[in-house]
Amino acid sequence: VSLRLLYARLRSLGRRRRRDADLDEEIRFHLEEEASELQESGVSWDHARSAATRDFGNVALIRETTREVWGWGSLDRLIQDVRYGCRSLAGTPIVSIVAILSLALGIGANTAIFSVLETLILRSLPVDSPSELVLLDDGRGRRPHWTNPIWEEIKSRPGLFDGAFAVSTTQFNLAVRGETEIVDGLWASGTMFDVLGVPAIVGRTLTPEDDRPGGGPGGPVAVISHAFWQQRFGGAADVIGRSLTVERVPFTIVGVTPAWFFGVDVGRTFDIAVPVGAATLIRGPGALKGRSSWWLRIMFRLKPGQEPDAATVLLRSLQPQIREATLPDDWHPGTLERYLREPFRVEPAANGDSSIRQRYRRPLTTIMVVVGLVLLIACANLANLLLARASARRQELSVRIALGASRLRVVRQLLTESLILSCVGACLGLAIAHWGSRLLVNQLSIAGRPVFLDLSLDWTILAFTAAAAVATTAVFGIAPAMRAVRVQPNDVLKSRARTVTGEGGFGAGHVLVIVQVAVSLVLLVGAGLFVRTFSSLAHLNLGFDDRPVLVASVQTSGTRLEPARLGALLQQLLAAAAGVPGVSSAGLSMITPLSNNTWNNLVEVPTAPHLSREERLVHFNNVGVGWFGTYGTPILAGRDFATTDALGSPPVAIVNEAFARRFTGGRNPLGIRVRQPWGIDREIVGYVKDAVYESLRDPVPPTLYIPLGQDPDPPGTIDVAVRASAASPLLLTKPLANALTAVHPDLLVTLRPLSDNVEAALQQERLVALLSGFFGALALLLSALGLYGVTSYAVMRRRAEIGVRIALGAAPARVVRLVLRRTLVLVVVGTCAGAAASVWASQFVSPLLFGVQPRDADTLLSAIIVLALIAAIAGWVPARSASRLDPARILREG
């Protein structure tokens, strides 16, 4: 029934124009009939006509009440309100566009950042009862990896929990030779899928049977992700049983996981999951036995009712046995004692584990606060705009009230207008959010390690956007509405445009402008600090040239050469790389700076015996002849390594300035002897400039370079760096890959410019600087608009007064001063408040800064100058137009 009614109403809506015309004609007929009757009784036509109209009453009101009878009153009123609202918003296009855009950017940015924050930090894993999941932790603040022997000890004690599993995020190479083909991989214990409750959509998941050293009964097996299945196999139904070569080992595909499952590492995903036991095939026979090889995360599912604290107590009771059984064999006794004492504990892990969460928590939270403040400014701006607009429309509103519109109706009209603004703004904002959050996730990714976040819009984000829109409407919709209906129609109509009532509302406008100025100053200072941080890191002296260098990581393990032959192979690789046209020099190293690979160890320097353990920890790198030249790291004293530094010749080393500062008090360290933990004594023969090792932010660590030629057991992966003589090193990619793979058919090569590593290391700071700069500028723009709006409103209100002053001979400059005086007060008060707030807020961002103090006076001063300049322009434009008012015209208007 109600559907039919709705249909009838919708149909009648369509006929509405005709019905309106009919009603008008009906009323006109009535009036004429009445008038002609009066005329017949002897009254003149004009009198009859006006008497009939008077008798009839308020035509508009009667028309309105009759229309309501038509049955679709509330819907009709809504449509009418919306139409009227749209028309009136279109009447002031600049105000409307500014309002909608600032809302859209405010809401969009908030939703985008919140989406990423929610997905990365807050959201629970999409698995069965994620709240029961906990992670094995050592209480040292960084979520640790564990060795496989520890995992086996835990695995051998079933019944402690409702389930336990080990997992590790990794990358696998699928190519057999030539250039590597890297995919995201997962080491998963056989229990993982069962404990998480993740089913297979095709085939089966991994079982404990599969998870045996060297593979299960049917040989090594793997499970692939839905995305990989689609992309690599085109979603083929017969994928089960197919063979897939991972790190040169053939695996049989046994299943496909659901599209929503990405593992337990938020921010990463996987293409291929293989059992932990298969590590013996990929990483060598000893891979599962390494007692100091920390590579697994261990997670448990608590029993129903089991508290994390109880689980920690339970694990502590087992800790001595487990630790005792897994003692690393080659450790120092002191370290072993610490190992035994280190307590087990569990940490809630409902939202999984994330390698990038820790890194982005503070930057994202900071940006969230920034965009929250931008939304605040946008709201203040809107409130101001609408306040001014409602004041400008008092005349119109009074006419409507005088014509019989109820105050409720007028308030509803104004609220409808605000709602239209916020709805359009929110819709645009949602589009911006959709696009922006993806852009943001792309920005989080660094070369070679893409960040994956499952960013589908969920109810939390929708609720968040809706709340933002509604709150915004409430803030800026109700204030002008309340103000508008307080108006006495008679007063307004009498006083015409020259009214000066309504100071109270304008006071609110002042406060809003002060808040805007203050908040935008805070954002500007923040943006200044972040941009300077980025700039100091980007202009940091790296100690090497990243631009001309291309690095090829060559995996030699596929050649299965003996260590002795491997040395010769490295020489061949170096020669091949140096022979590529366009290469000016080449050098080998075990570790490439800023590649997230680190090697550090303790050394003893007999001439500096007083140093503590921590102070004797230095970074190592194994480098070949010509490496320093290729990187452009200057040799300050002594010599580079030479081909004569080979096995059997006296052991030598090169150190950097930081090493010299620590061990020789900054004096030239040449000739000093360094003892490595395994007993080799090296003589320092070279002294090089400090160069960045693993992080841009940390000071350069003391570094000891040892010659590759003196390494009896060359590494399985060697980095070949080449320096391009003129053009971009990227042009060398193909020739270098060809030259290197020509050396031996079983080599695997991954190429990447050295500048990618630097970019990746800068990426967090770049992101923060970019976003805070953008939003700082936006805040500044919005505040300028706010100031402009308030000043022009003041000018409009004081037109008559200004006109009189000009007529009485006030000079234009005097008028400008008159108008600007008020703006100046607002800006000064806002700036003072903003400066105080910046100084207070700076403490929260100091961990994100580099090369600039949180209370940097220069930054604060520049921000104030920029703000003052923009404010001056925003105020000067309306002030100038005020000084050019034509007094004669204004006085005539009055």
Partner: protein, 114 residues
């Protein structure tokens, strides 16, 4: 409260009066108002502000329908006519009204006597 009550009573009464007037044949708004005024000997004054909403309401309820015709002076006017449902409604309303007026009279009479 009291005001709202009176309006409601008036509305119901006006509907009955309109339906009753239309029993004598189709008529337009102005004529209906005049008719009610003259039949009641100027006691009942129909406000145009109530008349047109009432006419449109009765039409929406299906008790009357309308047609554009030329009036006796040759002008186009909207004529309202009682429908079959309207006739039934009139009978029901009328008997309800009669019951009400008898009841009212009963209640009021003792007061007159006392």
């Amino acid at each position: 409260m009291a005001k709202a009550h009176r309006i409601e009573l008036l509305q119901g009464t006006l509907d009955l009066l309109i339906l009753r007037t239309l029993v004598f044949g189709p008529s337009h708004g102005h004529a209906i108002a005049k008719q009610i005024k003259s039949v009641s000997q100027d006691v009942l004054q129909v406000e145009t502000g109530s008349l047109y909403p009432a006419l449109h309401r009765l039409e929406a309820q299906g008790w009357i329908d309308s047609e554009w015709q030329n009036s006796d002076k040759g002008k186009r006017a909207k004529y309202y006519r009682l429908t079959r449902a309207g006739r039934r409604q009139l009978v029901a309303e009328q008997s309800k009204w009669e019951q009400l007026s008898i009841a009212m009279a009963r209640v009021l009479r003792p007061a007159e006597e006392g």
